[in-house]
């Protein structure tokens, strides 16, 4: 009797009355792929809402340098982890984050999380914590200048499907020597949401090549790095991309000897 009573008690007292809803975050700024120069201010703007009462939100920025290179860090990258108390059911968030002038250039993840008064928290597992990738730039990082067939600076190349793609450009280490260059032909993981309402898995690039640059090299050219390498995108692949209205880019990621990462892209127009 006691037993069935207890079972009844537990089974019947459903957790319906308890607030179990996590806050909802809308992050308007920055957007995926946004660039900010070291020494400048990063502007963050968004809205956090809860069904009952908000408590704390958290902003984290940390580097994503090992994204494609697994070497250990030689420099101290910028990182930030701050928590801010909030209250009410709706909180507008505006933050100005000073990016230090000596911040290492490269990709960073910016993450916004929130918890309500009961301890209900946003999570990555159900996409309720928000994350964007931003790029910090500085004057020391390597620079890539794409050049068209006339030798003038450009941001796109006219190319043809099914035949080897011809591209040109200069890579300058500026503040220090070059260390590694990764060349890719593919799509960019930008913040456009798919029809299912989520980010798509980054597609495998059509072409990728990682070149380790010999020590003491301050400048090089795409021509030198691509000597003897053929890049081609088939007609079928181009048609598929056109259907999806997805642009294709030549993506050049450069790592310099000081640990700065930079990324330059030129659109490939078929």
């Amino acid at each position: 009797m006691i037993l069935s009573g207890l079972i009844g008690l537990v089974a019947c007292k459903e957790p319906g009355v308890t607030d179990r809803e996590a806050p909802v975050i809308t992050l308007n700024d920055p957007v995926n792929g946004e660039q900010v120069a070291a020494g400048d201010e990063l502007h963050l703007e968004g809205l956090i809402e809860d069904n009952v009462e908000l408590a704390t939100w958290n902003l984290t920025i940390h580097n994503n340098f090992d994204g494609h290179q697994h070497g250990r860090l030689a420099v101290t990258a910028f990182s930030l982890d701050r928590s801010y108390p909030i209250s009410g059911r709706r909180a507008d968030i505006h933050e100005h984050v000073d990016i230090p002038a000596d911040a290492t250039a490269g990709p960073y993840h910016l993450v916004v999380k929130a918890i309500d008064k009961e301890g209900n928290a946003t999570s990555f597992a159900d996409d309720s914590s928000k994350e964007v990738e931003i790029w910090i730039t500085n004057d020391e990082m390597a620079e890539v200048l794409f050049r068209n067939s006339q030798g003038s600076i450009t941001d796109h190349f006219h190319v043809h499907a099914g035949v080897p793609i011809v591209v040109a450009g200069d890579i300058n280490g500026r503040g220090s020597d070059l260390s590694e260059v990764r060349l890719e032909v593919g799509t960019l993981d930008i913040s456009e949401h798919s029809h299912e309402g989520h980010r798509l898995m980054a597609e495998e690039p059509f072409f990728s090549k990682t070149i380790t640059i010999p020590p003491g090299t301050r400048t090089t050219t795409l021509g030198t790095l691509l000597a003897g390498t053929e890049i081609a995108v088939s007609q079928a692949q181009v048609e598929l991309l056109e259907q999806q209205n997805t642009p294709v880019y030549l993506i050049v990621r450069v790592k310099d000897a000081d640990g700065n990462h930079s990324r330059f892209v030129a659109e490939l127009e078929f």
Partner: protein, 789 residues
């Protein structure tokens, strides 16, 4: 060395006492026909000595000293029995056994610690013999128990599992191996049980609060692992077992050899296994708003290996026996490449091998030296277990990119040393009255290193004394009662973290945890009643109280669990938690039918749990926790648990076995009104197996079976815990004994998740990443026993 020395002294004392010796002989008979049973086994428990009856059913035991013994009588196809035997002169004793078709009764149904038969126990004990363990071999020892009603496992991939009994796990379950409580780092969800799955010879599972005989922390239940019986043949015997699994290309073997030489016994076992990345049923999973790839359906870096070795030696005499067992368990298991931090697509691209173990991985070495002694003191028996354990746990991963450069990949290094002593004294004030009294002492020392931090250095002492009485009357009632007192002392070292202002300069220190000194004293107890008016019916009632003093992790933890994104924070002010549990057990045992119903209800006072707070790591200190998370702090409040199991075995004909088991657990935190986390969903397991009526001199006893496990959705979840959908899994097995006139071997194939069903396990560590479980898996097992002439 101390252990070996102590063992020597015991032997010397025993040998120097020359005493009178007696002979006992008699027959084992069929209870219905009265015919002698040839080949029945008669075992003297206290001496670990067994004899087999001759063609007329006659047995003889000589060289016995004046004492009370427990005798187990078992014979294939008959219900086993346990009787007490008082030897004071040479005597004749006959034993009768009754036929049954229910497997569980074919084995020795007696608890090693209580020393009474199944029906006299007031708290039900599930007993699993070597045959069950062999036929239910899964990825780990713990997983082998998963199909028992009320038992589950918290898994991390396929090589790491920890036991859950009726929804309770972690520090609330005691696992005793060779009489010594296994001390690893039980508080961690991804810390598995360090047991070689080939070694256990026999396992007892007690669901419910059993602090009484086994010590504090037995709130949820106890799993007792016993080795095989001591060898009694002078020929060298042994077995070779091997397993291959298709899903992750696991290849495992275990070789064992044992021998008795005069009074001396020894046994050696070597086991090894290697497995690759396991396959799941999908090629992508959703996390952090990405669709992430699972290339070729293989979870990258979930490969692992295990190397285990065990050596046992000892003596068997008429005063008892004494053994020393040295064992070493070594495991290296990869963690899914995305399991530490947020999984990223670039981490998941194949690295060219499905068998390599890259970062992150965990490497565990568990060394044990255990001495077990059964000794006749006057006319009573005493048992003494002494153990030393060294658990060395290393979790390695790439350091996170924060300011300081730690050097090396050791994230967590934990070295736990434990010294244990258990002594029990058995008395028989009357033929229907027995008493067990005992003491237990455990001393621990923990050391930590690594670039991450969760648990501080600590020292811990726990000591307890208990007395337990059991009285039977009228051939149908047994009552039991016991009381226990415990004392615990805990010293936790202060732990500080240097915060760097620049690359080399320390700006200030952050105190992770203060120095903590606590001591605890508790009294607990239990009582029960068993009623067995006939061979067929048994009802049990047990009421027990148990307690657990707060673990060092609960008092002092302060760090980020990188897999769960949780910041776990201790609470130095916690008091002991206490449980009160009422257990009922009704069983009907007919020749072709067995039905067991076991409901329970429990109330926990000051139940300790991790409660989510509304703060983040950086709310505590902006600089101390790079990449922190939500703070979960240990708190305590009252909670209730209720549920039960139903198990049915039915044999419409001798060869056909139909088995079904149902389990469910409800619980509620009385503070939040929410369920407790990691609660297993209700489940039903069903199995039909058939022993084929044909076979020839080469293929003997062919058998086949199918099984189905239906698991309900778990929608009763704690705050921030996600609901998990239900699923059903189909399995099958096919086995035969093959052999010639001079040899034989067991060959069987089992299939798991035949339908290649995509499902998530509510208790899996990788559930947090939305990862599905292992796909279809065939397991091929070969067991070859051998004996030299």
């Amino acid at each position: 060395m101390k252990l070996l020395w102590g063992f020597g002294v015991i032997q010397w004392v025993a040998i120097s006492l020359a005493v009178a010796q007696y002979k006992v002989e008699g027959y084992v008979k069929d209870g219905i026909t009265g015919a002698g049973l040839s080949g029945a086994t008669v075992t003297l428990h206290e001496l670990s000595r067994h004899v087999v009856t001759d063609t007329l059913g006659r047995f003889e035991l000589d060289g016995l000293r004046r004492a009370s013994y427990h005798v187990h009588i078992s014979y294939m196809g008959y219900a086993s029995d346990t009787k007490m035997l008082r030897v004071a002169a040479g005597q004749h004793v006959d034993y009768v056994l009754f036929p049954t078709a229910i497997e569980l009764n074919e084995i020795v149904v007696e608890s090693n610690h209580y020393k009474t038969g199944a029906k006299e126990h007031t708290l039900a004990i599930e007993i699993l013999d070597a045959g069950f363990l062999r036929n239910n071999r899964k990825n780990t020892f713990v997983n082998s128990l998963e199909d028992l009603p009320g038992i589950n496992a918290i898994n991390t991939g396929v090589g790491i599992a920890k036991p859950v009994i009726r929804g309770l796990s972690f520090n609330r379950i005691i696992v005793n191996d060779n009489g010594i409580k296994q001390e690893g780092q039980q508080w961690g969800a991804d810390h598995g049980l360090e047991i070689d799955m080939f070694e256990p010879g026999r396992v007892e599972v007690i669901k419910g609060p059993v602090s009484l005989l086994y010590g504090s922390e037995g709130l949820g239940g106890v799993i007792n692992i016993f080795p095989r019986a001591l060898p009694s043949d002078s020929t060298l015997q042994g077995s070779f077992q091997s397993v291959y699994k298709t899903n992750n290309h696991l290849a495992a073997f275990s070789a064992m050899a044992e021998k008795a030489a005069g009074n001396k016994v020894f046994r050696v076992r070597v086991s090894s296994q290697d497995f690759g990345d396991y396959r799941v049923t999908t090629d992508r999973f959703r996390y952090n708003s990405y669709e992430l790839p699972i290339y070729r359906n293989r979870l990258k870096n979930t490969a692992g290996n295990e190397r285990n070795v065990l050596v046992m030696t000892g003596v068997k005499k008429n005063w008892g026996y004494s053994t020393v067992t040295l064992s070493n368990f070594h495991q290296k298991a990869g963690m899914f490449a995305g399991a530490i931090g947020i999984p990223r697509a670039y981490q998941l691209t194949p690295d060219g091998s499905t068998r390599n173990i890259e970062l992150p991985y965990q490497q565990i070495n568990h060394f044990k030296a255990v001495s077990n002694t059964s000794l006749l003191l006057g006319k009573n028996w005493a048992e003494l277990d002494i153990g030393y354990q060294h658990n060395n746990r290393n979790e390695r991963s790439n350091p996170h990119a924060h300011g300081k450069n730690p050097g090396g990949t050791l994230a967590h290094g934990l070295q736990l040393q434990t010294l244990s002593l258990n002594a029990r004294y058995f008395q028989h004030p009357g033929t229907q009255h027995s008493r067990i009294s005992g003491i237990q002492v455990e001393m621990q020392k923990n050391r930590q290193n690594g670039f991450e931090y969760l648990l501080p250095d600590f020292q811990r002492l726990a000591a307890g004394v208990f007395a337990y009485e059991e009285v039977s009357w009228a051939n149908r009632w047994t009552g039991s009662a016991g009381i226990r007192a415990d004392y615990g002392l805990l010293r936790i070292a202060e732990s500080q973290e240097a915060l760097y202002g620049s690359e080399t300069e320390i700006a200030r220190y952050f105190v992770r945890n203060p120095e903590i000194q606590r001591n605890f004293f508790n009294v607990s107890g239990g009582m029960g009643l068993s009623y067995y008016p006939s061979q067929a019916f048994n009802a049990k009632l047990n009421f027990g109280s148990s307690f657990r003093m707060p673990a060092p992790s609960e008092l002092a933890m302060n760090g980020v669990h990188h897999g769960t994104f949780r910041h776990e924070l201790g609470n130095a002010g916690l008091s002991s938690e206490r449980g009160y549990q009422l257990d009922l057990n009704f069983s009907v045992q007919k020749k072709y039918l067995s039905v067991v119903v076991s409901p329970f209800a429990a109330y926990y006072d000051q139940y300790i749990y991790l409660a989510p707070t509304s703060r983040f790591s950086s709310s505590l200190d902006p600089d101390a926790f790079p990449e922190g998370g939500q703070i979960f702090q240990y708190s305590q409040h009252n909670a209730v648990y209720a549920g039960g199991e139903i198990a049915v075995d039915y044999h419409p004909v001798q060869a056909l076995h139909i088995k079904s088991a149902f389990e469910c657990v409800f619980n509620q935190n009385l503070d939040t009104g929410l369920p407790l986390p990691f609660t297993p969903p209700p489940a039903v397991f069903g199995e039909i197996s058939y022993e084929m009526p044909f076979g020839n001199s080469f293929f003997r006893k062919p058998r086949a079976g199918v099984n189905l496990k239906v698991v309900a959705a778990q929608n009763r979840t704690d705050r921030n815990e996600r609901a998990t959908g239900g699923y059903s899994l189909l399995g099958a097995s096919l086995g035969t004994t093959v052999g010639g006139p001079k040899w034989e071997a067991d060959l069987f194939i089992t299939a798991h998740n035949l339908g290649n069903t995509a499902y998530m396990n509510h208790l899996s560590r990788y559930r947090l990443l939305n990862l599905p479980e292992q796909g279809r898996n065939f397991s091929i097992n070969l067991i070859v026993p051998f004996a030299t002439m």
